[in-house]
């Protein structure tokens, strides 16, 4: 029993928990960036125009 309880205690240096937290934080940062990226493109007409023009230029080259 003592062993079981011991195994459930989260140690601050427990590598797998630390890794999980880091992965979770990366996932959150990615999703924030994803939404922010959509918002930036949608609300920045000049950048959007440039992006579209660049795509068309690339496509006509190929």
């Amino acid at each position: 029993m003592a062993k079981k309880i011991q195994s459930n205690i989260v140690h601050p240096n427990n590598n797998s928990t630390a890794h999980s937290k880091e992965k979770q934080s990366i996932a959150e940062r990615y999703l924030d960036l994803w939404q922010d990226n959509i918002r930036h493109w949608a609300t920045d007409p000049a950048a959007m125009e440039k992006w579209l023009a660049d795509i068309v230029k690339k496509q006509t080259k190929t």
Binding site: K23, Q24, I26, A27, Y30, L31, L33, W34, R39
Partner: protein, 418 residues
């Protein structure tokens, strides 16, 4: 869901399908695109390049396959939160039950309400008289949102005698009105009525496109010397400034719909449907709805904050359809031709020119306005260098009706009027 949230009160936000589909696409798309992002194949906006690079570096320290379940779980959780926020909004028990202010005068369907009535202890004979002019698009009650959160009543408590112009739903005569008709046949006669009653000059205060209408009225009435000052809140002027890329295509499409409707005599040509306006507002920032409702899902439903959110959302989804000629004036003469900024917006033979105004005024521009971009309002501010200027925190609506407006912006506006 608590006991108070058992009954569905509303079925918005409108159009509901668009809001739900958009948030679903956003988060399923984010998950699907994660491998593409890792490989550097996602088109990132220039302002976010550094952030994206930092993230990619951190991702490279991990096994990509190990990260994907975390992204999936987080994305699902965000989607669930937004949908919960929408559900919470639909079931929230708040319903606006504000006693209407006494009717002062009515012309056609347009009403002017007297908010000084009932405030006899605050409002005196020498109190400044102000007429608030809202937009034609959404209801006037944004300026009298809740019993405990009313800009109009707060002005009266501050010793100002406020009147609120309520355009109401267009009826027989107004269905044929364009913007000029609303200014000449409704706004100006109402200003005269209030002026005659008090025999005092009037402070005119326009919110959003109500500012454009007030500006035109102030210019036309300048020789009559009955306007004391002009306050312009979140008023657009340069309709091409910071215009979303898709807006021109959208206005073309609306106009095409209108032409088709005229051929088939269906209902859209009679009045601009409210959902079309909602579609337009949604298109200004397609991520706003998700962020807003996700945040709302964490509010305590019994809190003032939650009730204010619901009150403003209800207002945003409410409103009367516009008359066809007003829709065309806004879409063609304002959004397409940019007549005000190009100095060719004419009302009653006057080219409306802010620079020519010789009355004192106050111009208020919000910091984060998506409906009226900062550059559009700034163009007007540049033409009114003698006007006092206030930058207000918040968006187009939260600035004037948000929970902080009572302590921040309303006293500033009142102080100018006094």
């Amino acid at each position: 869901m608590s006991e108070n949230l058992l009954k569905q009160i509303r079925n918005g936000p409108h159009p509901l399908g668009l809001h739900v589909a958009s948030t679903t696409n956003m988060w399923t798309g984010a998950t699907a695109a994660f491998p593409l992002f890792q490989l550097g194949g996602l088109q990132i906006h220039p302002d976010l390049q550094n952030k994206a690079e930092d993230l990619r570096k951190d991702i490279s320290n991990h096994n990509a396959e190990d990260l994907l379940p975390f992204v999936m779980k987080q994305a699902q959780s965000r989607l669930a939160e937004t949908l919960a926020g929408i559900r919470l909004y639909q079931y929230h028990p708040y319903q606006r039950k504000v006693k209407p202010a006494p009717l002062f005068h009515k012309i056609g369907s347009t009403e002017i309400l007297d908010y000084g009535d009932g405030h006899q202890s605050d409002v005196a004979d020498d109190s400044p008289i102000v007429i608030a002019v809202p937009s034609l698009v959404n209801p006037a009650y944004i300026l009298d949102l809740k019993e405990d959160h009313s800009f109009m009543h707060t002005l009266a408590e501050m010793g100002i005698h406020p009147y609120l112009l309520d355009w109401c739903a267009p009826e027989d005569e107004e269905l044929g009105f364009n913007l000029e008709d609303y200014i000449l046949k409704r706004l100006i006669p109402m200003i005269y009525e209030v002026h005659r009653h008090h025999n005092k000059k009037i402070h005119l205060m326009g919110y959003c496109m109500g500012g454009n209408l007030s500006l035109a009225a102030a210019q036309i009435l300048e020789d009559d010397n009955i306007i004391e000052s002009l306050t312009l809140i979140a008023t657009p002027w340069d309709f091409h400034a910071q215009q979303p890329t898709h807006l021109s295509a959208l206005t073309d499409y609306f106009l095409k719909m209108d032409q088709n409707d005229q051929k088939t005599a269906s209902s859209i040509s009679d009045m601009m449907e409210l959902n079309i306006m909602q579609l337009f507002f949604f298109s200004l920032d397609p991520t706003l709805s998700d962020r807003k409702f996700r945040k709302f899902s964490h509010f305590d439903p019994a809190s003032d904050k939650a009730e204010n959110f619901v009150a403003i959302e209800d207002w945003a989804g409410d409103g009367c359809p516009l008359s066809p000629e007003v829709s065309k004036d806004c879409l063609i003469n304002w959004y397409q031709k940019n007549q005000p900024h190009k100095k060719c917006w004419r009302v009653a033979g006057h080219v409306i020119s802010p620079r020519s105004l010789n009355i004192p005024g106050h111009i208020i521009t919000p910091t984060a306005d998506r409906i009226v971009p900062a550059a559009s309002a700034k163009a007007l501010r540049d033409l009114l260098p003698n006007f006092a200027h206030t930058t207000a925190n918040g968006g187009h609506v939260s600035m004037i009706a948000g929970k902080d407006a009572k302590t921040i912006l309303w006293p500033i506006i009142a102080s100018f009027l006094k």
